[in-house]
Subunit: 220 residues, 2 copies
Amino acid sequence: MLHEEVVGRVRAMLLDGEIPPGARIPERDLCEKLQISRTPLREALKVLAAEGLVQLLPNRGSRAARLTDKDMRDLFEVCQGLEALAGELACERITDAEISDVADAHAAMVRHYGDRDLLQYYRCNRFIHEAIIAAAGNPVLSGLYESVTARIRRARYVTPMTPRRWALAVQEHEAILNALQRRDGVGLSHILRAHLRHKREEVMQAGFAETAPLEQARAS
Amino acid sequence: MLHEEVVGRVRAMLLDGEIPPGARIPERDLCEKLQISRTPLREALKVLAAEGLVQLLPNRGSRAARLTDKDMRDLFEVCQGLEALAGELACERITDAEISDVADAHAAMVRHYGDRDLLQYYRCNRFIHEAIIAAAGNPVLSGLYESVTARIRRARYVTPMTPRRWALAVQEHEAILNALQRRDGVGLSHILRAHLRHKREEVMQAGFAETAPLEQARAS
DNA sequence: CTAGCCATTTTTGAATTCAAATTGGATCGT
DNA sequence: ACGATCCAATTTGAATTCAAAAATGGCTAG
């Protein structure tokens, strides 16, 4: 197994919650689960610690990082900034074909909204946002965006969505597509910022913070 | 030596150019220079690779990453986005005392401009930008900014500055301080974007890209 | 019966060891 | 003499081993 693969596997376990936030990570167990020795696993853990997904405690091993309300706010704020930037750049660089792809995804998303199919709605939603990032043609930006969104994804897609919020989100997405088609970079960046701000308010209000998960439930 | 210390030492060597861009990194040599074994060094290299400072070649070791023109453009663009975001947030959160610090640094910077003391000018310049980032009160943002600026720092501060450009930069900094004192977030973010765009044009025009460093000069 | 202390065990951190891949050079063939 | 191929030596990647730190459990004393 390649180094990057180990990092990817462990990252997925953290993001999927297979290793829950705050849980200790016993190297030995993970090693045999992944069928590797401790050396490559420890390399991966250090990389993930630098990404903010893992917390290293000197001489006491590592834990899955836990997001506080503040962390969540900070991540959303940065995400807002990155998407706004991506929106501006995308309007300068996106091709007609790419706009067409986004329009298709948007149409599909609106259909799923009509069906109240939240899962498929989110799939299209995510595709659209990622397409805008990709259209910015800036790998540094893409990398940071990927890293930031990965950490808030669960919160973003698990928070219950009220009919009121959902309708607003769809409306905002109409504006997003519109600005993109007009290649109105400044307009798009404003809409994206507002869109993310609303999403953040939604998530923060739901109080998703990964606080105090109790070290471990102990069977008595 | 602690893990983070190893990462820091090697990062410094890369950023200072002690290990020049494109140079191969012989693990063995670095190990004895740092007085550690290969295991912790390799952990550090993988972390630095994730940061984009080191390029890992499977089964062929690692090299100090080399920035192309495109990389430089991408990094500056992201930096622009981050500073713009920080500017907006800072205007909401900065204290009067912090504004006062920035004003002092600005005054000192203008004096150094008058003396044509580029080194001291840059010191104040950097302090101001970092103070704005810090005032945003967002550690995620600070971390990304630190990582991005570190990679372009040499280009940013080594590019020769024409009198024309320098005067413009000082003028822009006047506007930056002014917007900050008025707590005009939108205005500040616009000025910062323009400021960074000009800096980027300056650097890109100077053609700083770290291209073709010749594998190694060979004494015949 | 509880609290505090010490020995044991477990787990982490790092050096060493071992295997695999690559590189450079030498030999052989054309 | 030139080129291809094979072998040795170096270097990388990962497992194992060793040492140090922390957690655990038991023991004794109050």
